[in-house]
């Protein structure tokens, strides 16, 4: 099946360029005439994922695959990984540093938002290897 495949490098520790991949995907979805509600949901989820890679994983890759009826976004990093995924998924759990908190991050709401705003949410993580998140929003 024909689809649009987009890939972006997300620069670690760069809060200024963070969100660029999300912006691009949003622009593409708008051009395709996708419902703004759906764009909003995947864009917020993707931005949370981008920011997490910047803050917690020293960067990574953001991959978007846009089909007729859905978008699948993957966030792949080779950061330190998450030891206890259930704990990380709890609203309010965060290991963010003071520096990061002063920028407004570190509420521990990113992963819960990603799950809340997407139709399908999968997270795999291995300590010392990295984290792989797959999210789907159906149009």
């Amino acid at each position: 099946m024909q689809h649009i495949h987009l890939e972006y490098d997300v620069d670690g520790n760069n809060f200024v360029s963070a969100g660029q991949a999300t912006e691009n995907v949003k622009f593409c979805l708008k051009g395709l005439g996708i419902n703004p509600q759906m764009i909003r949901r995947i864009a917020i989820a993707m931005y949370e994922g981008e920011i997490n890679m910047v803050i917690h994983a020293n960067g990574g890759k953001a991959i978007a695959d846009i089909y007729m009826d859905k978008i699948v976004v993957q966030l792949v990093d080779t950061g330190e990984g998450i030891a206890d995924i259930n704990q990380a998924m709890q609203p309010g759990f965060s290991t963010a540093t003071e520096d990061v908190r002063s920028l407004g991050f570190g509420a521990g709401m990113g992963l819960p938002n990603m799950r809340k705003y997407t139709d399908e949410f999968e997270i795999e993580s291995t300590v010392g290897v990295g984290t792989h998140i797959t999210m789907t929003v159906k149009f």
Partner: protein, 108 residues
């Protein structure tokens, strides 16, 4: 209420103007960006004391009508530049969030 009307009520200064005729529907106050992204509704006025460039990303993602920077906090140059280029309405007031929102409620 429009952004222009809100700015007048708050005695706010303009940081970045895109469309001050835009209609505001509701409000959200907060500085923790993931809370804002989880809760703020499109077309709201977002009250915050955050002043860094990430405010722009969150404002765009939530599609808020205006960002109201409270308590005389000075927005970063990068925030101002990006708000202008992305067409985000940003105003600044000396009032704290509670006083600002109370004042808006009184004028609704």
């Amino acid at each position: 209420m429009t952004v222009k009307e809100l700015a007048k009520i708050l005695g706010a200064t303009t940081v970045a103007e895109s469309d001050f005729e835009r209609e505001i529907n509701g409000g959200y106050a907060g500085d923790l960006l993931s809370f804002v992204m989880g809760r703020a509704m499109p077309d709201c006025a977002w009250y915050t004391i955050m002043t860094n460039v990430n405010v722009c990303a969150v404002a765009t993602l939530t599609d808020c009508a205006v960002v109201v920077i409270c308590e005389d906090c000075t927005p970063d140059e990068m925030l101002v530049a990006r708000a202008k280029s992305q067409g985000i309405n940003v105003i600044a007031t000396s009032l704290d969030m509670h006083s600002a929102i109370a004042l808006v409620a009184k004028n609704c």
